[in-house]
């Protein structure tokens, strides 16, 4: 209990009191506690958390990570403005998607070395270097998103295009012709638009307001190139 003897300011006087004028009149008695513990309430919980994950079964660990990845996939498929993708970023999803895409897009047997679609390494490099370049671009323009968060969002938003590639491969098993091409074109365009909407929903807020278009345009170019690779894929 403080026994600060402070002379109260007289409300009837109109002269303003100087700042901290009353401090000299405080007397500290023995009853004010000036020592104690600084406890952070989270800390004990985290320590419990750590020791418990060490003892859990392997299945639990794997399922937890898989569930996190699956939750993010759901967020991409139904894009809402939410922070989940940004807060707990991980790069498992982008890696899986990128490897799937590169494996399916690489040319089979080509007559000539110089023709045909991209090799596995080319797709891989385009996706990862494209994502890094877009992230650098948005950071240079003054966005306040971290490097890995941005990579995470861009990687996860490739999911619709991977689905489009699967559909295209199935459609290509049928008879080739203009209808075949129209169906593939339609699917790729829809998935391309979905990717753009999903990534914009997550990334747009982190940019300064008068530079949003400058930061979104490279994302558009990136997904456009990937869509082009998917559309021109010929087995």
């Amino acid at each position: 209990m403080a026994e600060a003897a402070e002379s109260p300011g007289d409300p009837r006087t109109t002269s303003p009191r100087p700042l901290f004028a009353g401090l000299s009149e405080i007397s500290i008695s023995q009853d004010i506690p000036v020592e104690g513990e600084i406890t952070i309430p989270m800390r004990s919980r985290i320590r419990e958390f750590d020791s418990s994950t060490l003892n859990e079964s392997v299945q639990n660990t794997i399922m937890r990570d898989l569930k996190a990845v699956g939750k993010k996939f759901m967020h991409v498929l139904y894009p809402r403005k939410s922070n989940t993708l940004l807060r707990d970023w991980d790069l498992w999803g982008p890696l899986v998607l990128c490897v799937t895409l590169a494996l399916m897009l690489q040319r089979g047997s080509a007559d000539n070395e110089n023709d045909g679609g991209p090799q596995f390494a080319e797709v891989f490099v385009i996706i990862w270097f494209g994502a890094v370049t877009i992230t650098l671009n948005s950071k240079l323009l003054g966005g306040n998103i971290s490097f890995f968060q941005s990579l995470c969002v861009l990687g996860y938003c490739i999911l619709p295009l991977t689905v489009a590639l699967l559909v295209c491969r199935l459609v290509l098993l049928a008879k080739p012709g203009p209808i075949n091409f129209i169906v593939r074109l339609f699917v790729v365009i829809v998935m391309f638009a979905w990717s753009i909407v999903a990534s914009t929903a997550f990334l747009a807020d982190s940019q300064p307001p008068n530079r949003k278009a400058l930061a979104i345009y490279p994302v558009f170019l990136f997904y456009f190139v990937i869509s082009w690779m998917i559309l021109t894929f010929a087995p």
Binding site: A110, N114, A213, V225, A234
Partner: protein, 306 residues
Amino acid sequence: MAAADELAFHEFEEATNLLAETPNVTTVSRSDQRPPEGHVAVAVDPGGSYGAEDEVESDKTALLQEQQQQPGFWTFSYYQSFFDVDTSQVLDRIKGSLLPRPGHSFVRHHLRNRPDLYGPFWICATLAFVLAITGNLTVVLAQRTDPSIHYSPQFHKVTVAGITIYCYAWLVPLALWAFLQWRKGVRERMGPYTFLETVCFYGYSLFIFIPTVVLWLIPVPWLQWLFGALALALSAAGLVFTLWPIVREDTRLVASVLLSAVVLLHALLAMGCKPLPLEHMAPTHQNTPPHPHGVLTPTPPRPTTA
């Protein structure tokens, strides 16, 4: 006349000495901002209060550059200073590159001495991808008219196109800037552009090729030549108008050689991007598919057709 010597101001001593040495020269008073053609501007005291006979504009330039204190090149904010543009500014610069006006230098009027690297980098990237995509599309369209042409995605075009365009957009401004720096001594009035400003206006001048490459898909030859000539004219005009204030003080020979070299290199790039006419695409009973873009895709030697 010792008293007269003591009374003479020191600044004028140099001027009188110079006048005595070169009696034919015309001195220019400080109120004149432009020395008349063919005369030498006498700089009375370069470091002192009278200053060099520079234009008011380059004084402002020096002030602006002093204000932008650049941090060291190893810090992130150094590079951030090159991306300090808004959407409206980028759009304005693109518009300025599309519509060059004589007498309006792109650097002075649109960049206002704040060059950015966003425009050149992404315009080059877009152009490389658009070139690869339209090359691919040309083969697709050709295949529809002539089914014997074998279609393949030809992904290596992206790499070749990208490397060519980025080399052009960086090495040619480097050479130009180095050359202008070398000739700096001849110029009295205006300082040359910095390296970044050169890269910047070269990058923005490439923007017009993006819609042109897309329009080149139309398989009508004279229309393709028309579009190509139009794009080249606009782009090269922009470059020439920007370089003209720098180059006009140089000797006529150097100026004309420089400007024609710039236009020629630009024309070479345009020719490299232009697709070959369709009849040059050989049908493949040889297994190499046609290469629609002239220079950018070096072809392996083809076996002669029967």
